[in-house]
């Protein structure tokens, strides 16, 4: 019984930690796709960029880890403003297929650019000592970095939720997404609003890529390789919701970990089977709004 209890605690912890990893690398997409309704499949490219900013900032310029994280957010957000003004904004009114084709094209460009700039090998993440090793809680050891990830993700979801649900900016975004023409006619500068929101989503993607880099390695094929996870989290969570992806990431993280721990033979495809059944049950996702 004791053994079972102990493994239950392990699975719960690792499941939540994995869920948080899924969440931090997908949260940016839940803003651009979930909130703005733009099918941004190139999300992973922004996350990868964040990862490269982090690893370069630490290894080449000797920045501390928290500073490098902040830089990943700022640099990716700033770069995305240019992209948004030049490229993305032209496709806001385009159909989903155009958006998909355009952003897939962007992935190819990003992969090739990363390969030329950084080479094919993965980049090491130099963690500060306080995030290495284990933290002992009630006689059990937990990996320090994963504890840190859980805390940061919790803070991120709280801040996002507060921003979107409780601030004027959030209300304007929600209004502009629901009915852009109406929002414009009451004097909201939707163009600037969308640019800022897009920058926030991309910045979060960069931050997520940087935060997750220790566990999900940064190398040029990143945007393609992890695309299924971003999409699963947002689709299962439901478009137009912020709590949705969070709940979905947790649910998938915990159940995937549990399955891999107790039934490792089925570990490979559990996450996909779960996604299929969840979407059959609720086609709009857990917290999705039917549009």
């Amino acid at each position: 019984m004791d053994v079972f209890l102990s493994s239950l605690v392990s699975v719960a912890f690792h499941g939540i930690a994995f869920g948080m990893i899924l969440y931090v690398i997908s949260v940016g997409l839940s803003v651009t796709m979930g909130l703005m309704g733009f099918v941004n499949l190139a999300h992973g490219a922004f996350a990868m960029a964040g990862g490269y900013v982090l690893t370069s900032a630490i290894s080449r310029f000797g920045l501390s880890f928290p500073l490098a994280l902040a830089l990943a957010f700022i640099a990716v957000a700033a770069a995305s403003v240019l992209l948004e003004r030049w490229l993305y904004s032209r496709l806001y009114d385009a159909g989903e297929l155009e958006q998909v084709l355009f952003t897939i094209g962007l992935i190819f460009v990003a992969v090739a650019a990363a390969q030329v700039t950084f080479g094919m090998l993965q980049r090491p993440v130099l963690l500060p000592d306080y995030l290495k090793g284990q933290i002992s809680v009630l006689g059990r050891d937990f990996p320090a970095y994963r504890v840190f990830l859980i805390a940061v993700s919790g803070a991120m979801i709280a801040a996002l939720w507060f921003g979107v649900e409780r601030t004027l900016w959030g209300a304007m975004v929600r209004a502009a997404v629901d009915n852009r023409a109406m929002a414009q006619s009451i004097g909201i500068n939707t163009r600037r609003l969308f640019t800022l929101t897009f920058a926030l989503g991309s910045g979060l993607a960069g931050l997520g890529g940087a935060l997750g880099a220790e566990i999900i390695a940064i190398q040029p094929t990143y945007p393609f390789e992890h695309l299924p996870y971003f999409l699963i989290v947002v689709a299962v969570g439901g478009l137009g919701s912020l709590r949705g992806p969070f709940a979905a990431a947790l649910l998938i993280g915990v159940s995937d970990t549990a399955c891999k721990y107790w039934l490792p033979q089925f570990g490979a495809f559990f996450i996909y089977v779960a996604t299929i059944f969840l979407l059959l049950w609720r086609p709009a996702g857990l917290f999705g709004r039917r549009v």
């Binding site: 090998l121 993965q122 090491p124 970095y145 220790e214 721990y261």
Partner: protein, 420 residues
């Protein structure tokens, strides 16, 4: 005589060959003879060019590995490309197989054989690619030397295929035997793909032959972002040693990080595997999680043999101080040495069967990895296997060789599965 045709009248020769397709039959020889006789008195002897087809991965996700082959081969050509008999030249034609992609591999091999008229083929990181061209090498009688593709059965697929790289059995079976002397209970965790299965089988046989017990085995999907659940399971099963095999790079790193994160080292569980886990080129990117991992392999950039020191120094001079050659670069280097050996021995006039005889007799006491030879029976590599541990040497991670666990070892799988 065919040679004279080639150098004196390439255009006529090409059109004559085009009609005949790849088979080099009697008719072909007769045509060449005739052309040769006519043209023999036409002028002084020009250069004798041997065309070699080199197939590697230059694009796509596998480009990092393909680049290793390219760098090893190019370095050899640069340093030793001139060591040829008078009048003989080697023309290496490179083609991109775009990754583990048998269809493309077959197409480019066919183009190299039919259109470019190569007399030798070499290259390939990936086993499926080498397997795909096996029938071609036999039909066209164009020998192929594997620089890396390590699937155990490759050389059995055509009498015109040989290998200078390695097999997983070669490193993992002696690792299993060595581990059985130190540890009693082992847990195996491998990626769920062909090399993973092969190494699992080899380790279990080696470990059991040495008297050890396997307490559990798990196969982990290739697309797996988080290894923690699997490793937690290993930790709770309390083995003495964990045998692991994943593709080098991010997968192997992620698993070692999970091992370090969960504190399995403190729980007294040793992490071992074939040298593919801690390849010299990836090692710096893996970080401190790799320290203490023990592997068995045929090559380490940190080895202190003089031939290796010279090789590593030349490699760094060519490609930059930070870059270590990995086992794939060495495979390419040795394959090129074998290519040049058969060309020199035949004075540039290559005959496929003579070439295969020469390949079977090949011995090199001074490869960067130590003495190597080709097994005349199987056309596979014979080499030493070294036990290594990842340590920090002068601020850099390195695979430090500790002892030689197998000397001049033939592929164990072929020894166990010999036809009686």
């Amino acid at each position: 005589m065919r040679i004279t045709r080639r150098k004196f009248l390439p255009k006529v020769a090409v059109s004559a060959e085009r009609q005949e397709q790849p088979q080099m039959g009697a008719k072909h020889a007769a045509t060449s003879l005739l052309l040769g006789a006519v043209l023999l008195c036409a002028g002084p002897l020009a250069a004798q060019t041997v065309k070699v087809g080199f197939m590697s991965t230059f694009s796509g996700p596998g480009a990092a590995q393909g680049d290793q082959l390219d760098k090893g081969a190019k370095l050899y050509l640069k340093l030793n490309g001139g060591k040829l008999p008078q009048g003989v030249k080697v023309d290496v034609i490179s083609r991109d197989d775009t990754g583990a992609n048998p269809d493309v591999a077959k197409r480019i091999a066919q183009e190299l054989i039919v259109r470019d008229k190569v007399q030798l083929l070499t290259g390939f990181v990936w086993t499926p690619n080498a397997a795909a061209i096996a029938p071609l090498t036999a039909e066209a009688k164009v020998p192929y030397i594997s620089m890396n593709a390590a699937g155990v059965n490759i050389v059995n697929m055509s009498p015109y295929m040989a290998r200078v790289s390695f097999t997983l059995w070669q490193s993992v079976y002696p690792l299993g035997q060595w581990a059985a002397k130190k540890f009693k209970r082992a847990y195996t965790a491998v990626s769920d793909f062909a090399p993973g299965h092969e190494s699992e089988e080899a380790f279990i046989k080696g470990f059991k032959d040495g008297g050890g017990t396997i307490i559990d085995s798990v196969r982990i999907p290739l697309a797996n972002p988080d290894f923690v659940p699997y490793i937690q399971r290993v930790k709770d099963a309390k083995p003495d040693v964990l045998f692991a095999f994943n593709p080098a790079g991010k997968q192997a790193t992620a698993m070692m990080k999970a091992y370090a994160d969960l504190g399995l080292d403190k729980a007294g569980i040793k992490y071992i595997g074939p040298g593919d886990l801690t390849t010299d080129e990836e090692l710096q990117g893996m970080g401190d999680a790799a320290i203490g991992v023990m592997t068995v392999h045929h090559y380490s950039a940190a080895a202190d043999r003089p031939a290796n020191k010279a090789f590593v120094a030349a490699y760094k001079k060519e490609y930059g101080e930070k870059l270590n050659p990995g086992f794939m670069a060495v495979g390419a280097w040795d394959a090129m040495d074998l290519v040049f050996h058969v060309i020199r021995a035949q004075n540039g006039k290559l005959n496929p069967d003579k070439t295969m005889e020469l390949i079977k007799q090949y011995k090199n006491p001074n490869s960067p990895r130590g003495p190597i030879a080709i097994d005349p029976e199987t056309r596979d590599i014979i080499q030493n296997e070294y036990l290594r541990e990842v340590r920090k040497v002068g601020g850099q991670l390195a695979n430090v060789e500790i002892e030689t666990v197998a000397t001049q070892l033939k592929d164990p799988w072929k020894e166990f599965n010999k036809k009686k």
